[in-house]
């Protein structure tokens, strides 16, 4: 660190740490019956499925090679982390409700249950980084990470995203802040950096690249925020801009 670096704010760190610890409890309660959870999850799955994903789900030959591409399987050897298994509920709903063979499939496949949705929370949120290595491995070229992403959305609609995520989402949609950090803190951070001679224009029209910053950078690691501004500003023919409203903000390059 050079002598010009912005000192770390110990108080802000302590406050942030307390917030993170409290995150789980800050999640809004979900008042959905099991039937409603299943219904919402299914509705999202059926809305998000398209011809490409449908064909993917029909084409899996259950070879299991995708497991060998998954970090979570590789490091634990636990079969539940097999990527295509993470998309099992989506495949089941698809086969029962949308497949050209649904009339036959319905005879053999049971409905998904709320308990299954609950069980899949760990698999699709905690045990998948959407890295796409399984997509690279699959001999059929199945877009497995996309199927897992749809499953995530379905669980989210059923109120089954992890509580920490729900807490952050709730705060963002209700208050427009993240960890209590909003437009005022953004303005303060920009003012501080401008006072150090950095060029940070706001709300520039026709900027075509958004470089997003994080709440953590604005409060805890301002030096990182400054470095981002310097990097984008130093590029040739660059307009740097930050949006001032809520979190539709960023550094842009035009």
């Amino acid at each position: 660190m050079s002598g010009d670096d912005i000192p770390l704010n110990e108080t802000a760190f302590s406050r942030f740490e307390a917030q993170v610890k409290n995150l789980k409890r800050a999640a809004p309660p979900v008042n959905l019956s099991d039937a409603e959870r299943v219904q919402r999850a299914k509705r999202t799955m059926l809305e998000k499925l398209d011809s490409g994903t449908a064909m993917d789900l029909e084409t899996c030959v259950h070879c299991g090679m995708c497991a060998e591409a998954c970090h979570f399987y590789e490091s634990t050897q636990d079969p539940k982390y097999t990527p295509i298994h993470k998309a099992y509920l989506l495949r089941k709903v698809y086969r029962r409700e949308l497949s050209p063979l649904r009339f036959l499939n319905k005879l053999f496949l049971r409905e998904i249950t709320a308990q299954q949705l609950q069980d899949w929370q760990e698999l699709v949120f905690n045990s998948c980084t959407e890295c796409g290595r399984c997509d690279m491995m699959c001999p059929m070229g199945i877009h497995i990470s996309k199927a897992i992403a749809i499953t995530r959305e379905a669980l989210g609609a059923a109120g089954l995203a992890p509580p920490e995520l729900r807490a952050v989402e709730h705060e963002q949609s209700e208050a427009g802040t993240l960890f209590g950090i909003g437009p005022q803190e953004l303005e303060a951070a920009i003012a501080q950096l401008r006072s150090r001679g950095l060029h940070i224009p706001i709300d520039q029209p026709k900027a075509d690249v958004m470089v997003l910053t994080t709440a953590i950078d604005l409060v805890l690691y301002k030096e990182s925020f400054a470095a981002t501004a310097r990097a984008v500003d130093s590029a040739e023919s660059t307009i740097v801009t930050l949006g001032s409203r809520r979190w539709r903000t960023g550094l842009s390059r035009g």
Partner: protein
Amino acid sequence: MTLLDFARGPGFFGAFMIMIAGIVWRMSGLLLFRQRRDLSAPRNPGPFAAVLGGLRTVALRSVPPHELEKNITFQHFTGYAWHIGWFVTFLFLGAHLPFIRSILGFSWPNLPNGILLVITAITLGILLTLYVRRLFHPVLRLITDADDHISVLLTIFPLITGIAAFGHWSPLGARYESVLAVHLLSVEALMVWLPFGKIFHFATGLLTRFRLGAAFIRRGVRA
């Protein structure tokens, strides 16, 4: 009408019709289902970028990326080997060619029976090994369903009944004609199952590869 007459006549015709109707039904259902446009700006905006990216993945996905191949070498090679062995036996056994000629109106030279017997035995050996592996491997056990059992067994039966017919074996004192009829029926069972189970990947596998390649090249990444 003997069992052989049935297997050669109405049995084959019925199986063929179910196969074709099933393929058309399932495939058109998949292709006519909602298409969704990718609204993002493509990283590779050239007019043929998506097509070329798709074709590239169709071709290259036959070999796994080298970073990952060490994990699946056995399955990769045995998988290709039994597919090739199965089709070589089907297409080049001397006893099959008159049958193929009667349907297509033409045929091609056969391979010597001795060579084909070895190929068939290796193919059967691999299929049985992979099936046993499926029954015991933790990952495969988890993701295996009834379709897998039916598809694998229906792929294996024609090989076993074919070897019995080829060797003029008489299990349970059956006549040669009956053994041959059972062989034909085992193939017809496979034809009937073809549009309903995972063997359908023969029709969709290259399309899914193509779509993945096209989608990834749009993002500007390798597939």
